[in-house]
Subunit: 161 residues, 2 copies
DNA sequence: ATTTACCCGACTATTTTAGTAGGTTATTCC
DNA sequence: GGAATAACCTACTAAAATAGTCGGGTAAAT
């Protein structure tokens, strides 16, 4: 089982998308600014999210990404699965063969754990996350900060130009 | 969060120890033979398990390792914690600072997940695992195989000698 | 004294992660 | 039409973690 920044970034980016989904397509550079994730890295992640049909893209100016279905119908487990290979805790990917072709002593334990994690993450939708008070607070702070950054950029542009 | 062969090996080895705990100290080479884990690697893992006081060692011929307390009082989470740094799903180790010193959007989600995993693994004792039918079956098969290996070794020794 | 088996530190190949670089294609606004 | 925008794509890379190996110790039993 692996849950690293790859999966965490993907969920964070999707949540950002859900938070701003009412304002039309969201560009990756917006997400990059708000969430502090490298733009190139986001592109890689969204390539996978698009292949798993969790998002749809709109090209050209004013374009970006959109959730491909309702916030209520996208679950955290699906996002992690899309970028990580899976939330699988076994060493055999369910094949029961990690000890030279045969089942190891702890195979069933890791199967149970995998189910546990999957059930948990599969019952949390983006809509639920958006509704959480703690999430809203962080989102509001980021909104203020990114506006500030936007103003800073304009000042810098004015100085340079 | 990371759960790789390191943690899985540790739990497997401890379970092997629990299964043979009535026969006096169990040597690492026995565990290595039965579970197909490299001896040198087992030594590294048991060094950590010993520092976490999950096992006690007996040196010299006939020596090996013993569980430092009852099977009922050793839980999977403790074993994984001893060799892995922890079953922590956050990127900030609970410090709430993974986005340049501030809390990221998904911090609370990963905290919840960590709790979920920890609660699950912390309620499973070695005694419970030993009692499971699926575990007993694998253990029995390994017991037969390792006896066969033992006979093979004697035959090889006889041929060489 | 010798064997057994734990103990310890350093070293290494492989894999994964996290990120960079540099370009191409589609769309919109002027 | 042309410039700007932003998705799309491939390949490369530095750093870290994993999964070991190797070589020598030290304590205890026969
Ligand atoms: S984890 Fe499935 S056989 Fe070992
Ligand atoms: S995971 Fe804790 S702040 Fe991001």
């Amino acid at each position: 089982m692996r849950l690293t920044t790859k999966g965490r970034y993907a969920v964070t980016a999707m949540l950002d998308l859900a938070l701003h989904s009412d304002q039309g397509p969201v560009s990756l550079s917006d997400i990059s600014n708000r969430q502090g994730i490298s733009l190139s890295y986001l592109e890689q992640l969204f390539s996978k999210l698009r292949k798993s049909v969790l998002v749809t893209s709109v090209r050209g100016p004013g374009g970006g990404y959109r959730l491909s279905r309702l916030k209520e119908d996208i679950f955290v487990a699906q996002i992690v699965d899309a970028v990580n290979e899976s939330v699988d805790a076994t060493g055999c990917s369910g094949r029961s063969d990690c000890q030279g072709g045969t089942t190891c002593l702890t195979h069933y334990l890791w199967c149970d754990l995998s189910d546990q994690i999957h059930d948990f993450l599969n019952q949390i939708s983006l809509a639920q996350l958006v509704a959480r008070e703690d999430v809203r607070q962080v989102a509001e702070r980021q909104s203020i900060e990114s506006q500030q950054t936007c103003v800073d950029d304009k000042i810098n542009a004015a100085i340079i130009g």
